[in-house]
Symmetry: C2
Subunit: 331 residues, 2 copies
Amino acid sequence: MKAPTVDDVARIAGVSRQTVSNVVNTPDIVREATRLRVEAAIAELGYRPHAAARRLRTRRSSTIGIHLDPYAGGISGVVLDRFVHALTERAGERDMRVLLYAARTPEEEISRLGDLLEGGEVDAVVVTGTFHGDPRTGWLMDRALPFVSFGRPWGEDDVEAPAHLWVDVDGAAGTRAATAHLLGRGVSRIAFLGWPSGSGTGDERERGWRESPASGPRWVVEENVSAARDVVAAGLAAAPDVAGIVCASDSLAIGAHLAVTLAGRTDIAVIGFDNTPAVEALGLSSVEQLPEKVASGALDLLMGENGTVVSPRAATAGTAHVLVEPRLVVR
Amino acid sequence: MKAPTVDDVARIAGVSRQTVSNVVNTPDIVREATRLRVEAAIAELGYRPHAAARRLRTRRSSTIGIHLDPYAGGISGVVLDRFVHALTERAGERDMRVLLYAARTPEEEISRLGDLLEGGEVDAVVVTGTFHGDPRTGWLMDRALPFVSFGRPWGEDDVEAPAHLWVDVDGAAGTRAATAHLLGRGVSRIAFLGWPSGSGTGDERERGWRESPASGPRWVVEENVSAARDVVAAGLAAAPDVAGIVCASDSLAIGAHLAVTLAGRTDIAVIGFDNTPAVEALGLSSVEQLPEKVASGALDLLMGENGTVVSPRAATAGTAHVLVEPRLVVR
DNA sequence: GCCGTCTTTTTGAACGTTCAAATGACGGTC
DNA sequence: GACCGTCATTTGAACGTTCAAAAAGACGGC
């Protein structure tokens, strides 16, 4: 009843331990006849390599860690979840596993990161939701631990001289596309509904609208559907000629949609950001972040274009980040 | 620059390997003075136990595997994602990790399950989205591999003589509560908007409404917002006295909500199922599945009430499943 | 038949931990 | 003072794999 080991397979096939190992890991260096004999023995016994023994010897876990925030309940979590899905699929293609870990605070997360990385539980981690002055990235860099962040290193550096590997979505390009789409349909008075200044992500998204040849008010509100509805209702009353609203998130877009519907102004086009199931259900257009591309980019940075082993790219300008161009989904 | 091992710590603290191991794993059997000395040495060197070595020796990975479906894009994925979040948090409290794996078909999933469980990569798995005649559960049972399913073993058995460990949400109780809520508010003509018969989950949810003292039509449609909208629009035209709609999912509820709004019948109450961010944003009531309780239940079944080691409960009647009573969130 | 080269296979050791059993220290009892 | 029991600590071995180096085989040329 005990699980078979390389030795058991070797005995049956009449070869040595190491040859069995070679058949499993580097079949091309084994003579064909031998290989077939060993493969038959493996099949007969139902042999599976023991992951822990392999990890111990190779000092690789073939596992990537990713943090899950305490579930916020809001719409925003959906993008992260889609990213986790995509990461799992892409990682599987490279014979990698994805391990989740939970932490409520950056401090708790740092402690977890230490356990996981220095204990050899994971080979690298993906840090999500970075913010200005994030203690996690600094801690990881000090120890030269392999990681990539989903979200750029706000403020500290940028595209020119990256402080570390990162992947991000080009928020400005997203809102620029949304604004251009409305302009192309003859809408000229286009408002932007965004968050208070100071969040890197929000400022980026606003920039794509501001730099477009569109005129219209800028409305500001916290991430909250009913607050957004009220702000838009008031804004429309003050500026009734607005004919399109570009929003920094789908939550805000839903609020705007409600205000527009209640005011009977269904002629006004509302565009969201994140393309969550909620706006899909409501038939609103939205900017799609393409989490699949973000996931592929993260793995490329950590493992090289086609690598199956973690060996992070050096953080030198130009190749140390991936900036994904989002796509406008028109409905 | 090499990572310190138990031996390094032992040398500094002037004790043996095993004593260091005891300080880490069973501190109470070590004399206080010794323990403090060892702890100081651990802190000084920044020692972390090497996960792979521990796993190899103990033959435990302290890891639970969970499958992620290919991302469907729809609203339904949200419940599973919340469950994964909750499972990760609860598992962390018991010193357990959660490993994700992807698979597109049941066959591919079975192959993955074999690798993970028999290779010692995970101690147990959580199988989600079980269906009638599911090949995965049978395969796992044949090999006596530890697992629990989120979703009951439809058809093959049930509460009386469980075939395996399972956790599920009591769908009938959810729609019963929704119907009762409407009845309590004086609404008597209550329709049910559900899926075609045959899916265990859908039939359960319908049952909670059918067994309630409510009269009203039963409308059937695939899981699709615009199809639901059309069905409800037609249904309301035929039965204008309907004053409440209980739905089998939030997607259907959004469709119903759209139909109700377009028909100007905002007096009609619509209740969804899953309490996703989308219906929250729209201000609809919905039945909340409480994924946190499902996650706790799954771990209780796999590890015992307070255990920190996987040792699945025997599948004997009464204690081999957890049926979570959902909660109606009124908006 | 022997040598050199290249390919294929085998051998010994090591990865870092914990289990199981042995040893040592210390009081208490007869 | 010898013996016993309890508690604290140490010792040797084992978990299953792959690395690095050594050995054996195959093959052609002379």
